[in-house]
Amino acid sequence: MPLVQIEKDRCKGCELCVHACPQEIIKMSKEISTKGYYYAQVVDQPRCIGCQLCAIICPDLAIEVSANGVSYRFFAY
């Protein structure tokens, strides 16, 4: 099962990952981080397909993706 971890303090709240996620499982926080941003959160991890699109589009290296077992790569990146 893929695991997506968003580092709260790296996130600048740009919402690009929210729009990139095909599963629509990333949402913005209601709270402000210490940096003053609403930050991205994975709200439904089990539905994550590990496609990494969120990580690929994140300009701030805030997203780390890990996978358990075989993870298919849908594209050569």
């Binding site: 729009h19 699109l53 589009i57 890990s66 358990n68």
Partner: protein
């Protein structure tokens, strides 16, 4: 079975959080370059040349030797470096004000001489660092602080397409334009970066990848709106793709 990380920071980047504005795609472009340095095993021979522009601090984020050139002069700077130490892998990282305005002489001549370095050209259609003035790449009608009524092509001409201009030179080169406003584009972009550094590593030719990038801050948009603006406005004027490769047959003359 252990959980293994399939996406994280490339070794060629530091942990430092960037100073870029939220959603600014400079960050994506940095990462692509770093990933390719990693993947091609070039980090230990790599020397980056930062421009003057928002990415002047790029050296804080790359985990390789780095220098800071004068505004627009990174290609001359890189020429000096590479001619002195051809064994190094040199790349310049330049904005559109830097490369297409003040530094256009240096990039054209470096490309024309076929200098064996790679230019990462970040075209965000504006001067980001200085607060949003018109760039040579600013689109017709686009509002900036020095074109408050929109760029008037009758007065200041059309936006410059650097990919096209450099491709008009006879000397063999690899010249491509890519975008990073969607994951799909980023994936394509990475291929171009790989090619660019591969050509350099093989000592083949000058290589440049032009990135269509966002500047949500100075465009006055949210990051998401900005990516849409790239698609709707920049891509039509700045067509994506490779325009020149060293393999292509030269015209007979």
């Amino acid at each position: 079975m252990a959980c293994k990380i399939i996406f994280d920071r490339p070794e060629s980047m530091t942990e430092t959080i960037t100073h870029y504005c939220p959603g600014c795609t400079h960050g994506v472009i940095h990462r692509l370059v770093a990933e390719i340095l990693d993947e091609l095993g070039l980090r230990e021979r790599a020397v980056g040349v930062a421009p003057v522009g928002c990415s002047v601090l790029a050296y804080n984020y790359f985990n390789c030797d780095f220098l800071e050139a004068a505004h627009g002069r990174a290609p001359a700077f890189a020429t000096g470096l590479k001619r002195t130490r051809p064994d190094l892998i040199i790349f310049t990282y330049q904005g559109d004000g830097d490369l297409a305005s003040i530094g256009i002489a240096e990039i054209i001549h470096a490309a024309n001489r076929g200098e064996k370095f790679t230019t990462i050209f970040v075209n965000n259609a504006i001067y980001g660092m200085t607060g949003g003035q018109m760039a040579p790449t600013t689109l017709p009608g686009q509002v900036t602080t020095t074109s408050p009524f929109g760029r008037d092509v009758a007065n200041v001409g059309y936006p410059m397409r650097m990919r096209e201009l450099l491709s008009a030179l006879r000397t063999p080169a690899y010249i491509a334009r890519v975008a990073v406003h969607t994951p799909r584009h980023i994936i394509e972009a990475k291929k171009a970066v790989r090619k660019a550094f591969t050509y350099q590593n093989e000592g083949r030719c000058f290589s440049m990848v032009e990135f269509l990038s966002t500047c949500p801050t100075n465009w006055g948009m949210t990051p998401v709106e900005a990516t849409q603006w790239v698609q709707d406005n920049m891509v039509p004027y700045f067509p994506l793709g490779e325009l020149k490769t060293p393999e292509e047959e030269q015209d007979a003359d």
